[in-house]
C-alpha cells in the first residue's frame, strides 16, 4: 500500500440525537456510525458490508458530507474535507460522486436522461450546450446505451438501463471516487451481473476508486478489492476480499458469510446460527458490541463449559439483566396447560421451562457453573430478582463484555476487532469453529 491514500477516514462518527418535547431536549443518541477508520487507494474498490442498521449508508453520506459528520477526519487527496467551506465543498464534489440503490427514484421523470446526465456539467460551469451534449452522448455509449437515448425519458428504460444511466451521470465529471450505495440490489440477478461487469470495465478505464456499499456479500466478492465489515456502527474486520472470504477472522464475519445461502443443495445446514436480532444503535452493548450474539464469545476461565452451553447460559444471564419476568413464564405454562392458574405452577416447572427456553441442559457439564446457575434460578423463581442478577453477573462474565477489542492485524494481513485475534488476551479453552 502506498503511503498516501486517496481517501483516508479517521474516527468518523455520525450520531443522530433523539429528542423529546417541544424544546427538543436531547434524551439519547442513535450512534449510527461510531468511530470508523479506513483508507481507499486510488483505483481501488473498497466494500462496506453489514446488516441493515449497521451504519453503512450513513457512512457513505457522511463521507461525501451530504450529511455533516459528528466527529472524525475525512482526508481526501491530502485535505480534510470536514473543514471545507461551501465553495471548496463544491469543487470536492466534482471529484467525488454518488450512486444510489433505486434507479427509478434517482431521476427527475420530467427531464430527459440526457439532461439529467448533463446537469452536473452545467452546475459545474460548462455553459456550452452542444459540448455538453457531445460529452453525454459519448458517455451513454460507453455505458452500453446509444447516443440517441439522450432525448428519451426515464420511464422508457428498464431498471438495469436506468442504473447504466446513473453510472453515466456519476462519471460525467470524471471523478476520482464514486460512492455507490447498493447500486445493484434492486436489479434481477441476470441484470446485476451486467452492471457489475460494466462497473469493473469503467473503473479500469477511468482509474476510479469506488466505495461499494452492499448487504449482498456475493456481489461484494465479485466487485471489491478490499472489504470492511460493519456491525452496529463499527468496523469489525477489514481484509483483502479473497482473504476475508476464505479466512475470516472475526466471528461476526464468519457468521455473516455462512448465512449466505449457497446455490448448492448438498451444503445445507452449514450455517453458523446467530441468535436474536441486532441490538439498538441508541444503546449498543458494552465491550465488543457483538458479544450478545457471538457464537464464539469467550467463556470465563474458571469454568469448563462447552461453547454452546456457555452461549446459552450467557443469553439467560443477559436476559435476566434486562429484566426477565418470571410471572410471564408462569402464565405461559398456564397457557400450555401445566396448571390452572399462575399461583399453582410448581417452581420446578418454571426452572425447567427457563432451561428449555434458553436451550440449557438439565445440568451443566461443569459442576461449579451448575451450582451458580441453580442458585441464580432459585433466586429468580423465588422472586429475588436482584440476588439472581448479582449471582449470575458475578460468575458468568466475559472479557468480550468488559473490554472493547481494538482492530488488530493478524499475520495473515487481515484486521479484526476481536479478543480471539488479540494475543494479549489468553483464551483458556479452545474455541471450536463449527
Amino acid at each position: 500500500m502506498s503511503s498516501d491514500p486517496l481517501l483516508s477516514v479517521r474516527g468518523l462518527k455520525k450520531h443522530y440525537p433523539i429528542t423529546e418535547g417541544v424544546l427538543k431536549k436531547e434524551v439519547g443518541r442513535v450512534k449510527a456510525v461510531d468511530g470508523i477508520s479506513f483508507d481507499v487507494e486510488s483505483g481501488e474498490t473498497l466494500g462496506l458490508v453489514g446488516e441493515s442498521g449497521c451504519g453503512k449508508s450513513t457512512a457513505a453520506t457522511s463521507l461525501l458530507r451530504l450529511e455533516d459528520p459528528t466527529d472524525g477526519d475525512i482526508v481526501f487527496d491530502g485535505e480534510d474535507i470536514t473543514e471545507f467551506d461551501d465553495t471548496r465543498l463544491k469543487s470536492f464534489r466534482r471529484r467525488a460522486q454518488m450512486m444510489f440503490q433505486d434507479p427509478s427514484s434517482s431521476f427527475d421523470p420530467r427531464m430527459s436522461v440526457g439532461e439529467s446526465v448533463a446537469e452536473p456539467l452545467e452546475i459545474h460551469g460548462m455553459r456550452d450546450r452542444s459540448r455538453r451534449r457531445r460529452i453525454v452522448e459519448n458517455l451513454l455509449e460507453r455505458v452500453g446505451l446509444s447516443a440517441s437515448d439522450f432525448d428519451r425519458y426515464p420511464h422508457e428504460f428498464s431498471g438495469g438501463q436506468k442504473q447504466r444511466i446513473a453510472l453515466a451521470r456519476a462519471l460525467v465529471l470524471n471523478p476520482d471516487i464514486i460512492v455507490a450505495d447498493e447500486p445493484v440490489s434492486a436489479l434481477d440477478v441476470s441484470i446485476q451481473a451486467e452492471i457489475i461487469s460494466l462497473m469493473r470495465d469503467l473503473q479500469d478505464e477511468f482509474d476510479l476508486a469506488i466505495v461499494f456499499i452492499s448487504h449482498d456479500l456475493g456481489v461484494v466478492r465479485e466487485v471489491c478489492d478490499r472489504v470492511a465489515v460493519m456491525y452496529l456502527g463499527e468496523i469489525v474486520e477489514v481484509a483483502d476480499t479473497e482473504t476475508l472470504f476464505t479466512d475470516p477472522q472475526h466471528p461476526y464475519t464468519r457468521a455473516l458469510l455462512s448465512s449466505i445461502p449457497t446455490p448448492d443443495p448438498t451444503r445445507r445446514n452449514e450455517q453458523i446460527e446467530l441468535t436474536g436480532d441486532v441490538p439498538s444503535p441508541s444503546n449498543p452493548p458494552s465491550g465488543c458490541r457483538f458479544h450478545t450474539r457471538c457464537p464464539e464469545v469467550i467463556p470465563p476461565a474458571e469454568f469448563d463449559l462447552d461453547q454452546d452451553e456457555w452461549r446459552h447460559v450467557l443469553d439467560l444471564r443477559l436476559r435476566v439483566d434486562s429484566g426477565l419476568d418470571v410471572e410471564d413464564v408462569r402464565s405461559f405454562l398456564v397457557a400450555e396447560g401445566v396448571a390452572n392458574d399462575t399461583e399453582a405452577v410448581p417452581d420446578d416447572a418454571v426452572k425447567r421451562e427457563l432451561r428449555r427456553e434458553f436451550d440449557i441442559p438439565e445440568t451443566l457439564s461443569d459442576a461449579a457453573a451448575e451450582t451458580v446457575l441453580s442458585e441464580g434460578l432459585d433466586a429468580l423463581v423465588s422472586g429475588d430478582h436482584d440476588h439472581a442478577r448479582r449471582t449470575l453477573d458475578e460468575a458468568f462474565s466475559t472479557v468480550c463484555e468488559r473490554d472493547a477489542p481494538a482492530l488488530e492485524t493478524s499475520e495473515r494481513g487481515s484486521t479484526a476487532a476481536c479478543h480471539l485475534v488479540d494475543e494479549s488476551v489468553t483464551v483458556e479453552s479452545p474455541v471450536s469453529d463449527d
Binding site: I196, L217, P261, Q271, G337
Partner: protein, 359 residues
Amino acid sequence: MTDPLLSIRDLHVQFNTDEGTVRAVDGVSFDVARGETVCVVGESGSGKTVACESITKLIPMPPGEIAGGEILFDGEDLTETSEKRLEDIRGGRIAHVFQNPQSALNPVYPVGAQIVEAIRLHRDVSKEAARDRAIDLLDRVGIPEATARIDDYPHEFSGGMKQRVVIAMALAADPDLLIADEPTTALDVTIQAQILRLLRDLQDEFGMSIVFVTHDLGVVAEIADRVVVMYSGKVMETGPVYDVFEQPSHPYTKALLGCLPGQGKSMEPIGGTLPDPKNPPAGCRFHPRCPHATADCRTGDHPEPLDVGTDHEAACVYYGPGYDASVIQSDAVSESTATDGGSEGGTPADASESGGDDR
C-alpha cells in the same frame, strides 16, 4: 407421485389492461406432494407470484382473470370453487406468507389479537382457548417470552420477529399448504437463515406442504425438495433440487446459475433484457437471450416440457428428436454468450458489452 396435494394443470392467468392483455401465467403446470417443499424460482415478471396467488384467487379480478387450466387441491378444482368455500380454504387449509411482514400485520391491533382472530375464523373455540393457542404458536415460531409479547403491537417487533408472527398466524388453522412468497427477501441474511431454518423445523413438526416463491437460487438450494424454474409466464424446468443444481438442463437455468455473483468463479451475464410481458417473443420465450437458439426456437409455440431425467423436465427443443442435448449439457456458457444475446429483446449494446468481458 401418486395423489399430489396440489396439482396445477395448464394454468393461464391474464390481466386485461387498457394497453393490452398481459399473459402473466401462460400455461403453467406443476404438482406439490404432501409434506414437500416446492420452490418456484424466477426473475421479476416471470409470473411466479401471480401463479401462486391464483391458487386461492388472491389476484384482483378484474383486471385479473383465470383464463384456463385447473388448480386441483386435494382433488377439488379451485378455479371452479365458490367464493364462499374459498374463504374457508384461504387461511384454513391454504395459508399465505408474504414478503413484507410490515404490511401483513395490522398496526393498530396487538399481534395476539390478530392471531386469535385467525384462529377463531377457522375454529370454533373460546377466546381463552384461542389465546392459549396463540401463545403456543408464538412460542413455536421462536418468539421469546411469548406470554409477554402477545399483547405487543407490530411496531414493537423487529422485521425478523414480525415475519415470525406472520408465520404463526399462517399456522393458526393447521394448514395443509403454506404458500410463502419471498418471505425472507426483506430480511438480512442472518435473519433469513433463522427463518429458513424455522420453516424447515415447522414443516417437520406440522407435516405441511410448502410452496416457496423466490428469486434467489441460494435460498432454493437451502430449502427446496423440488424446483420449478419460471421465465416470462412459462415453466422452463422442473425437477428435484439436487438434479436441477447438479445438472441444470434448460439453458435459462444454466445461465441463471452462471450469473450468480460471488461463487468464486467468473460470472457470466446473460445479456439482453427481460421480455415485454405484453408482447412476449414467439417460440421459446428465452430464445432472444439464449446462446443456443436455433431457427426452431424462434417460431411457433414455447417448447413442450421434455424428460431429461427422473421426474426432471426441461422445456427446450434440444431434448427433442433431431437435437443433440449434450451441446447444452457440456458447454460452458462463456463461449457463446454474445452470439445471439440481446439482438432482439434488448439493446444491441448489451450483447457486445457482456461478450467483451472475460475476466
